[in-house]
Symmetry: C2
C-alpha cells in the first residue's frame, strides 16, 4: 500500500494544480460552481487511474495531465447534474452546488465542464480518445436514467441494482482506465483489458460506497447516516434485507422507502436490522469478488511499478471506511 500512497502524494499536486488553473479560467457565473465541486476534498481516483494505466503501458510524456484531469471534470459534471436530479443536500461533505449557487448556474456549470473535458480530450489528436469519452458520458447518463426509471418499479432486484451502479459509477471509472490505454497505445485488446479492470474496480467501489452508507456516521463521510435510505435509494445492503422478507412485505416496505414516507422509528429499526445481519459486510464481500476479477484483467499487461500500484489501488477500494 506504501507505493499507492506515495503515488497519490506525488501526483496529486499536479492534478490539483491543473484543475485549479482550468476552473479559474471559467466564466464568472459557473466558476464558483465548478470550483465548489472540484476543489472540495476528493480522492481524484479517476485522474490517477488514467495516469497509472497510461504510464503502466509505457506512455512517458508529460502532456498527460490535462487528459487525466478531464476525467475529474467529467465526474464533477455528472455530480452537478445528478445532485439537481436527486435534489441532494450534501456532496463530498459540502452543501450541494444547486443549493448554494442555484439550479441554472449548476446546469450550466455541468455543461461547461463536459464541453471542457471533451475539448481537452480532442486536443490530443486521437479520435479514439474522444470516442471513449463520449461513450463514457453516454453510459453514465443512461445509468442515471435507468436509476430514475427503476424508482417507479414495485421491486428492485440485484440485476437492476448492478445495472444501475455500472451505469452511474463503474462506466466512468472504466473510461478513466481506457483513456490511459488509448493514449499509450492503439491496441484495442489491451484497452479492453484495462477497461475491464476499471469496470470491475468501479463496481467494487460503488458496492463499498453503498456498504459504508449503512456503516458509518455522518461526520466521517460527509453524508447523512443511512442517507441512501432517507433519499429513497435502494442499494445492495437493503436488497439483501428485502430478500429475507415475504414478497408482499418487501413491496410494502419498498414503497414506503421510495416514497420517503417511512417513519423515523421504522427507518431506525431498518438500519439496526441491516447492521445486525451484517449486510454491509456481505456487500463488501461481493465487492471483494469484483476486485479479484479486476486484478485478473491486469494479468496480460507487462509488469511495471504502475501495474503493481493499480493492484494496490484495487485492494485499497475494499479497505475504505469513508
Amino acid at each position: 500500500m506504501t507505493e499507492l500512497l506515495a503515488y497519490f502524494e506525488k501526483e496529486l499536486p499536479r492534478i490539483n494544480g491543473f484543475i485549479n488553473e482550468e476552473t479559474d479560467k471559467l466564466e464568472g457565473l459557473v466558476k464558483g460552481v465548478a470550483r465548489h465541486v472540484l476543489l472540495a476534498p476528493g480522492k481524484r481516483i479517476r485522474p490517477v487511474l488514467t495516469l497509472l494505466t497510461a504510464r503502466g503501458l509505457g506512455y512517458a510524456k508529460d502532456d498527460i495531465y490535462p487528459l487525466a484531469c478531464s476525467l475529474e471534470l467529467l465526474h464533477a459534471a455528472t455530480l452537478l447534474h445528478d445532485d439537481i436530479l436527486d435534489d441532494a443536500d450534501l456532496r463530498r461533505g459540502v452543501k450541494a452546488s444547486h443549493l448554494v449557487f442555484g439550479t441554472t448556474e449548476t446546469i450550466l456549470a455541468g455543461d461547461v465542464l463536459l464541453a471542457l473535458a471533451n475539448r481537452i480530450g480532442a486536443g490530443y489528436g486521437k479520435s479514439r480518445i474522444s470516442y471513449i469519452m463520449a461513450d463514457g458520458i453516454m453510459a453514465t447518463a443512461e445509468g442515471e436514467i435507468r436509476e430514475i426509471a427503476h424508482i417507479s418499479e414495485p421491486m428492485v432486484n440485484r440485476d437492476t441494482y448492478m445495472d444501475i451502479i455500472i451505469g452511474k459509477t463503474a462506466r466512468l471509472i472504466e473510461t478513466s482506465c481506457r483513456m490511459g490505454a488509448a493514449l499509450a497505445c492503439d491496441d484495442l485488446a489491451v484497452e479492453d483489458s484495462v477497461g475491464n479492470f476499471g469496470l470491475n474496480m468501479g463496481i467494487a467501489f460503488q458496492l463499498v460506497d453503498d456498504a459504508i452508507d449503512y456503516e458509518s456516521p455522518s461526520d466521517d463521510t460527509g453524508k447523512p447516516e443511512g442517507g441512501d435510505l432517507k433519499e429513497g435509494k435502494v442499494t445492495l445492503p437493503l436488497i439483501l434485507y428485502l430478500e429475507m422478507l415475504q414478497d408482499d412485505q418487501a413491496e410494502e416496505l419498498l414503497a414506503a422507502i421510495k416514497s420517503r414516507t417511512l417513519s423515523d422509528e421504522k427507518r431506525d429499526f431498518l438500519l439496526a436490522e441491516i447492521r445486525k445481519h451484517d449486510f454491509g459486510a456481505r456487500t463488501r464481500q461481493y465487492a471483494a469478488d469484483y476486485i479479484e476479477k479486476a486484478k485478473k484483467c491486469l494479468e496480460p499487461l507487462p509488469d511495471s511499478a504502475e501495474c503493481r500500484v493499480l493492484k494496490q489501488a484495487a485492494d485499497f477500494v475494499l479497505t475504505r471506511s469513508k
Copy 2:
C-alpha cells in the same frame, strides 16, 4: 432561391430519417423528451449547412448524414437546457419539454443528446471534428452564461447584445459549417473561411429572429407576441428604442422589463412604439450587413452548386418572417 428549396427538399428526408432512428434508440425516460424537441417542426438549418459546406468542398461520401445530424442533436440539447434556465413556455411552437416531461428528464435528455453527438463526431476518426464540436458546445454554454450574467446589469448596450447572440446562436452555426469543412479537408484557412461564413450568417439569423419577435403574432411563430419583452430578454429592437431615451428613463424601463414587472398597458405601448419606429426593420438592416459579410467569406472557395446554395441560404435568412 429555387436551388435552395430543392436542396432542402432533397436532403430533409434523410436528415429526419436519421434523427427519427437515433432518437428511437434512446432510453425510455429521455426518448420522449428527445423526440418531442427533435421531431417538432424545425428548419434543420444546421445539418443542411454541414452538408452544403462539405459537399461544396468536394466531400462526396454518403457517411456524412450522422455528422450533419449531430449538429441538430447538439442544438436540441442546448434548447432543452436553455428552456429550463429561461423557464420558457413554448419551444418551436410546442410546449417546452420540461413542462411536459419534467426537469429531471429534460436535463438528462440534454446530457444524452450532447454525448450522442460527441460519440457520432468521434466515430469519424478525425480528432479535429471532436475539437470543433467541443469548442462549439463550450462557446454556446458560455454565451448562455453571459446572457444570464448580463440580466443583473443596469444597462444593456449593443456590444453586450452582440456578445450574447454570437454565443447563444452564431457559434453553433459556425460550428455546423466548420464541421463540414473539417470533414472535407484539412486546410485550416478554408475551415476558417467557412466558419466565418457561418458566424456572420448566424448573427444575421438571430438578428432576424429578434426582429420577428416584435413583428408577427403568436400564431405564426409559435412564440408569444412580444415574447422576448415578456420574458425580460433585451434584444436589438428594444435596445434601439432605449437608445432614444434619457439614461435614467432607459434604466428605469429596463429594470421593469428585466424584473418582469412591466404592466400590460406599458408593454403594449412599448411594442407599439418599437413598431412605429420600425426598429424591427432596422434590426433586419443590420442582419443584411452581416449577410453581406458572410457571402464575402465564401469568395475564396471553389465555385460549385453547393456554394451557390449557401449564398441563397444566407439571403433566405433575411426573408424569414417566422
